[in-house]
Symmetry: C2
């Protein structure tokens, strides 16, 4: 079928072993002259070594999977992009999987990845499939969790400072004079939802405000529900004067209402969002958001994973936290001298 190492060896008049040593640049030396001949043969035949055969032999595929809930979320797209960037130099390819928050979908993706003998997987877990995760790790497929720890799964995890970011956001709203602050939150079964909720609570408490339970809503990942919940939140009596949306997806629901009801931000309603996306800075009004460095996040996750893949670390699960910072924009402070 295609050109193999035998063809190269034959053309160069050397053994297959020698070709191997030339291709891999080691581990044993090859005389300059022989190497030259081999390289010429490779060139001439347009020979491209088979990573498949190589993987079978070496038990390494130089492949890592990334399974996220939604690649359309710009945050996750950015993490995937940076992961790919960071993995490229070491020759790893990235296999992309979308779980859509579905455990069944996630299961299938994980099985496929294990079947392909991926060296590792970066996973934004649905929170299920513990057994499969455990079995994957047993089989030597290293695991790195993204922002969500999974109970009973002892894997490295990189998180955002969810609690701190939320605290800073809500504190900012309080300092801007708001006392009725609605929270549109992620499901609190997942770590980010829990963290953002507790940041919200701590900020209220530190300011001596009491929480109105009607102002705290938890939303699944359905866009429709976001929209509906945002509406309910705005309709609470007396209404909130500010909203903290715990994710960029959640913010969309709010923004649709703002538009439909012709609300002015921040006068009618102030808005702060966890997750900063590009559009927030050039919208009018621009949107105050909790931002963070997705490149750093990806870098920590890839670092953890490669440490294990390349046998530099084999200990207990590690946790890294990526810091967040509040970017104050017009949706809370009303006007900006400069574009942030």
């Amino acid at each position: 079928m295609s050109v193999t190492r035998n063809d190269v060896a034959a053309l160069a008049g050397v053994s297959v072993a020698t070709v191997s040593y030339v291709v891999n640049n080691g581990p044993r030396p090859v005389s300059a002259e022989t190497r030259e001949r081999v390289l010429r043969a490779i060139e001439q035949l347009d020979y491209q070594p088979s990573a498949v055969a190589r993987s079978l032999k070496t038990n390494r595929t130089q492949t890592v999977g990334i399974v996220v809930s939604d690649i359309l979320n710009p945050i996750l797209a950015a993490i995937a992009k940076h992961a790919e960037d960071l993995l490229l130099p070491s020759g790893h390819s990235l296999i992309l999987g979308n779980s859509d928050e579905s455990p069944e979908h996630e299961l299938q993706l994980l099985r496929t990845l294990v079947g392909r003998r991926a060296d590792g997987v970066l996973l934004l877990p649905t929170g299920h499939n513990q057994r499969t995760l455990y079995s994957a790790m047993e089989k030597g497929c290293h695991l790195g969790l993204l922002d969500r720890q999974v109970e009973g799964v002892n894997a490295d995890c990189v998180m955002f400072d969810n609690e701190g970011g939320a605290y800073e956001a809500v504190q900012h709203l309080i300092e801007s004079g708001h006392t009725r602050i609605g929270l549109l939150n992620l499901p609190a079964i997942l770590a980010p939802g829990r963290g953002r909720l507790s940041g919200y609570r701590r900020a209220l408490k530190d300011a001596g405000l009491t929480e109105d339970p009607r102002l705290v809503r938890e939303v699944s990942f359905k866009a429709q529900e976001c929209y509906a919940m945002a509406g309910e939140l705005l309709d609470v009596d007396p209404p909130p004067t500010a909203l903290f949306a715990a994710s960029n997806r959640l913010a969309e629901g709010v923004l649709r209402h703002v538009k439909e009801r012709r609300l002015r931000m921040p006068d009618d309603i102030a808005l702060c969002v966890f997750d900063d996306v590009a559009a927030f800075s050039y919208m009018t009004p621009s949107i105050t958001a909790v931002g963070y460095d997705t490149r750093e996040f990806a870098s920590r996750a890839v670092g953890f994973l490669c440490d294990r893949i390349e046998d530099r670390y084999d200990g207990d699960a590690r946790i890294a936290q990526v810091s967040c910072r509040l970017i104050r924009r017009e949706s809370t402070i009303g006007s900006t001298p400069d574009i942030a």
Copy 2:
């Protein structure tokens, strides 16, 4: 190292061939009783067949690459997502690559993909690397081009109706009373840029307007340059009253100026964008855009590719065109009764 088919065969007390036929559900029959025993052994050992070994034998990897210029572009992310969706049922995995519009980067990604023996590649080409593309196809790696045809490469291609979409957009601006319409265009060396430019020109001509060359700007893919060019366009004297931005990226440059200069859309400047992204519908004012079905686009591309991978088609390169439609929003018509 890991559990292999031999282990399963031994435990079940059958030959490796039988295990194979059970796992693959064919091609030869296995008695119900034996199958049962094998399945139990698989279960018990938590055996997961190696796709690597399978690929070496079958010369098929069930892997396709997708190489795009920027996965952060929501349009490309959507195409990647849909491609993954569509490929999953047939057991194909998607390897993601970001070329960043760099030919060198693209080259490396293509080489890696060929080395991994990807069954096919979906590519948004930089326009270079023809030889590598040609050689990849020679080697049996099927190729599907996304929106950009490459001269001298005889591969299937799916395109948007760039000319028609641009025509409709500019016609709409003209009908709204504009006569000085700026075009912020993609590089015209690439097919989409050419198509969108000629749609712009045809619309002007059909309306009896003459083109002012100062109102047509071509921009590379650098964000900075977008911003600068958008500024120059707005500063032409006499200034344009409407702008057609040939991509969502280009639109960002315009929107930053609109914000900084506190321009009102559409009164000070009307804006229409090729590429509809979610944010355009909930921004205020909402942005008029040329939209299309990314799912259909991905579906055509994946269809072309799988036809070849699965030997259903082996003829000349095919072209498909995905239609576009104008979505009129506030940035051109000033107010919408409903959210589009």
